[in-house]
Amino acid sequence: MLSMLDIERIRADFPILGRKVRNGKRLIYFDNAATTQKPKQVIDAIYNYYMNYNANIHRAVHQLSEEATEAYEGSRAKVARFINAKSDEIIFVRNATEAINLVAYAWGRANIRAGDTIVVSEMEHHSNIVPWQILAREKGARLHYIRIDHDTNTSRDDHEKGEGGDSGGDGSLILDDLYHAISHGNVKLLAISHMSNVLGNINPVKEMVEICRDKGIRVLVDGAQSAPHMPVDVKDIDCDFFAFSAHKMLGPTGVGILYTKREILDAMDPFLGGGDMIREVHKYDAVWNDLPWKFEAGTPNIADVIGFGAAVDYLNTIGMENVRLYEDELTRYMLSRLTEVKGLRLYGSMDADRRGAVFSFNLADIHPHDLATILDEDGIAIRSGHHCAQPLMERLGVAATSRASLYIYNTKEEIDRFIDSLERARLIFKVGG
């Protein structure tokens, strides 16, 4: 378990956390689901590459290239170990979105046919919806949604303020919908988020893989919000694809990771053609390179992959169990403090065991953008809007929510200041009660 002393030490690794914003306020960064801050170990690793061994990888015999190749492939090995995969099952792309698109284009085009069903859920990020819409349209396949447990008792009349209203349901997935889809259609793929970037809910992906087992259904898990915050073991989950982004877990932007089971990768055709992904090229045909390079055409983002390796090292030093435990403590504290705020409506589970430290809410009739403006003035960075999950917003019956999302360097004291700021917003907006 991490002590406050450990957290102070961790905070000291993040130069940006010492920054003052909005006329001298200390920054409280609660927008970690969008992207996290970077420790100096990561910034240094990138700097060190450019300063000391910048070279293209794989194709040269000189020393710099050798060092760069070793560092780049070293990152791959670290990432593989981080989620209990093998190195040749890890493909580096630009972000989680590209990882999902790679599956849609390379695997989907070859395996989804007219009349097939692709199952997603109502809580997916647009990046786990739109690629499937495109694929389904192209192939004449069907998209089927697993609903979330939520009653909207409010009218959707635009003018009715305080949208949202009372509801039962904590946003958990209605697994019966998955069973129903399987028994009524030719389901070929389940694409499901591990942790919701809006509700914070953790989905029972292992159980869902089990349901799909032996039915010829492949399972893609969108791990963009889970991999940064809890131990992930892709062999234990037994999913076929697992996608996530480096920049949401202390790493730089521009690096996404796609894990794919070896046997699927073997059979999959490449996504992009070009240099690096081939073994031999002749005038009219080519022989693909070995895995995973077959899927990494062109010069990759070498510096940032190396930087991401340093982020994985950093998280391993803390220990993902400890990350989860500390965030669990923050989550319990946040949940108890949020319930004290009058007129606050939280979306997602109240059970800390089944959620991460992502909190979406609305406060009385204050629009999320107005709320974010008021919090920003207190130096608190939160996000407001639809969080790239418009189908979920529609389901919740709201146009937007405010979202506070925490990470390993946040503290209970910051939560207190955040709650104070919410109270200030209630005063400014003259919310009664």
Binding site: H369, T373, I374, E377, G385, H386, A399, A400
Partner: protein
């Protein structure tokens, strides 16, 4: 310098946000025009009815933050009954002043100006039909240049 939120969310803005004037739709409008601010999802739709070169009636609906909705409501009041000549000259400063937010920061200025954009596009589409697209195009330019 950006304004503080205590300055922004004054009584008058909150009042227009919670009790918007001219909210709703018209039975037989000459023009219906709608736009959104993709960044934050603010949404404003205006229904306008013209008569003898004047704004005979106008309503708005939509959803969004206090600034966007108050600004839309105030704009409908500002233009009601006015001649086309009078309203053609409306600019960003007129709206910001009506809102009492002359120094709104860059993050929120679009919220304030969305309604003006929608209104100008409404005038444009009315005039484009009356006097031709080319004649009216300067109004469209003004609208799209707002943000």
């Amino acid at each position: 310098m950006d304004m503080s939120s205590a300055d922004i969310y004054r009584e008058i803005i909150l009042d227009y946000y919670r009790n918007p004037r001219n909210y709703g739709r018209l039975e037989a409008p000459d023009v219906v025009v709608r736009d959104t601010n993709p960044l934050c999802g603010d949404e404003v739709e205006m229904h306008i009815k013209f008569e003898d070169g004047r704004i005979k009636d106008i309503r708005f609906n939509g959803k969004g933050c206090a600034i966007s909705q108050a600004s839309a409501s105030m704009l409908t009041e500002m233009v009601m009954g006015k001649s086309l000549e009078e309203v053609k000259g409306l600019g960003r400063q007129d709206i910001l002043e009506a809102l009492g937010l002359p120094n709104l920061g860059p993050a929120r200025i679009k919220c304030a100006l969305l309604s003006l954009k929608v209104f100008k596009l409404g005038i444009y589409s009315y005039l484009a039909e009356k006097i031709g697209e080319d004649e009216a195009s300067s109004i469209k330019d003004e609208a799209t240049k707002l943000f």
